[in-house]
Symmetry: C2
Subunit: 228 residues, 2 copies
Amino acid sequence: MTTRLRWAEQHLQYRFRSPELLERALTHRSAARKNNERLEFLGDSFLNFAVARQLYERHPLAPEGDLSRLRSALVKGATLAELGRDLELSPQLILGPGEHSSGGAHRDSTLGNAVEAVIGAVLLDGGFEAADACVTRLFSDRLEQLPDADNLKDAKTKLQEYLQGRGLSLPVYTVRSVSGEPHRQSFVVVCEVAETAACVEGHGQSRREAEQNAADRMLSIHDRDEKS
Amino acid sequence: MTTRLRWAEQHLQYRFRSPELLERALTHRSAARKNNERLEFLGDSFLNFAVARQLYERHPLAPEGDLSRLRSALVKGATLAELGRDLELSPQLILGPGEHSSGGAHRDSTLGNAVEAVIGAVLLDGGFEAADACVTRLFSDRLEQLPDADNLKDAKTKLQEYLQGRGLSLPVYTVRSVSGEPHRQSFVVVCEVAETAACVEGHGQSRREAEQNAADRMLSIHDRDEKS
């Protein structure tokens, strides 16, 4: 048995019938034209579904928006990379020489993509049940310790809900300025709430980022006012 | 047997064991607090996966980017609404009175969401194989008649590939101006290609839209030059 097959048995509790599928799942695009990108596409879509189903069953009363936010937190790149590290995935990766020497095996995106590709490979090798069991094992701790869905809301959503809950009108965001070099632009956005006459500026490298920043500052003004 | 169960047998070739799951899948949020939004979340994620798997198997040589674009075209709202119309779904929907009288049963989003919710209901009622068979039946014609993946690329992607194919440097996009009321802003973006000294303006209601517009115009300039 190859080292990689042993790794899969030990860390995924799964025995591959086709070792070449596992090899493929661990092959970064820097190493070969036959790499793991297609398997990543398949694994990503399966993972999204399998996690959605777990959340649906575990949270029978949660509204759709909460399920959706919880899933995003579970399948985002940073979480998948963390999972890759828990699985000691880096030494199993097959990378091109340049990518290898620049430390590519420890890069978040490379690790996360490989985790997805491995799930895709289990699906093709062992079918739906095997892949589902694999996702359940990999995510069981994280599914148990889910953050409160409310904490995952972005600042604009929180601000909107806060204002609606108090019968106030929605905030208005206006781009005040855009400056800087094409690929390093800096945005200034103003957020205003009519009834409170509050007006704050937010900054960011994209319009979205500047809006979130402004919403966050507007929320903390309101929070402070309520506490005082 | 209820009308809705008969509808499912006839149009989905699926017999529900739990009629209440089907009812739930057809209940718009305007009608009841127990509506189809959670089933839509589940069905959407299953549909994305099932279509990804079909594409993976049917296009063994397609790169990940093509698979991804083909899937987006298949599962986008407009396609799902079309599918809802093919299935004569509107008369089966359960809507609140206001929504009903304003023609909500024929709205694209309502139809598309209900198609996803029905797929989610089949999954819960009959399991993975039943839901997979249902998606395959629903999408078989569309999977057979897939557009060429190249036609689905957006203008920025096409322009980039065009320039790379000729050894030219990548286009640079710069926001020239942002104007107008907060919720109806108008963007002007300039797209430049260093070697050709070409420079065109694009307009749009978002930065992204203006960039796509500029890329499209840049492509047509190059096209024209090649043909002349």
